[in-house]
Chain length 220, copies 2
């Protein structure tokens, strides 16, 4: 595993590692709410079905040391994981495409606990432009460029219909956005230095359908 | 690539292949709307940034043959991909946890184009039980078991708060559900024959934050 450090001395991690860390966080947050003080990698392993050697290796990336026989201090583990994952820092974002999913994301206060601060929505439809959703304004997509001159938001959440995905992404990038969270099944093209995360909910459906067939066969 | 066939003679595919197929589908659906008749793997390759040999290999799994110099017939490709992915067959589902995300999924008619037919929501909160969301009823989670005796729905979409994820999954499985679509960051435990797809939106946020740091360094 090749780990490089950035200027904040934070590791740049491979994707499988980053995917496991939020599992640990959601589990230790739960323990913290239950006022549990210590947790061992063996316990986490049992609970999450990840090998304990893998957990110890993943957690060794953080500024937290487990104590022999006692394990990790739960509250430090929560704080270190949140810090490491960036969930305790505010990242401003705009939603492009205020349909049902875009609206849900704008109204979901839960995302704030993961460092995502949605500040506005943008759309093309006159009937939603000018609305206020959960305290957040919806603007005309044509105003994104000028709006960004004052706001410099770096993340755009793309929740437009699939045939508008590339256009929405292009407008976002032109306005200075450096990261796209793409919820459409379209494969967005962007310059190398733009970060793209694809949350392919339709691909997940295809996987469910395909695996359900498999289960069906296995049971025959 | 090991491919087994099920009783419908449909291939059980590895996850990376299943993830690419919806990209092809969204692109050829778009071409179909534009009344384009033929498309080559080279064209798809350019558009989606996937090697054309990979595309030809993926599409060879379908009952569709490309013609030399002309390519694939767009409308057949749409039909074959939809059939292959299961998007043209109805799969009934329930939503467990009718918060903002659960509500959005229940109201999103777009999912029907991907074969997902949500028929009801379930929740614990008296203020949402008995409501009607986009024509769909919301029931008490305690009634899931008896409701399922008449409905036999096989997919449960888990959109509850993270500390209720395992309980919601257990109730769904007890009621006869064989596939879980988990939107919580919790790692659900289930018997081997239950299909679980995790849509880890928080993991994607962590990846965005981490990669944004990377981009920042690269630019220095």
């Amino acid at each position: 595993m090749k780990i490089t450090k950035n200027n904040e001395n934070r590791a740049i991690l491979p994707e499988p590692t980053i995917r496991r860390l939020p599992w640990y966080l959601s589990y230790v947050r739960m323990l913290d709410h239950l006022h549990v003080e210590y947790v061992s990698s063996t316990q986490i392993s049992k609970e999450l079905n990840v090998q304990s050697s893998q957990i110890a290796k993943d957690l060794s990336l953080l500024n937290v040391k487990g104590k022999t026989r006692i394990g990790y201090e739960v509250s430090s583990l929560v704080a270190e994981l949140e810090d490491f994952l960036g969930f305790n820092r505010q990242h401003d974002a705009v939603v492009i495409g205020v349909g049902s999913l875009g609206t849900a994301l704008m109204q979901d206060r839960g995302l704030e606990h993961y460092g995502l601060n949605i500040v506005a929505g943008f759309d093309v439809r006159p009937e939603v432009i000018g609305q206020n959703l959960g305290g957040l304004p919806v603007f005309d997509i044509n105003d994104l460029l000028s709006w960004q001159r004052d706001h410099h938001v770096s993340i755009a959440i793309i929740t437009v219909p699939v045939d508008q995905a590339q256009d929405a992404a292009d407008r976002a990038i032109d306005s200075g956005v450096t990261a796209l969270w793409n919820f459409t099944p379209y494969r967005i093209k962007a310059p190398q230095d733009v970060v793209i995360a694809n949350t392919s909910i339709y691909a997940h459906l295809a996987i469910i359908y395909n695996r359900m067939q498999q289960t069906f066969i296995d049971r025959e």
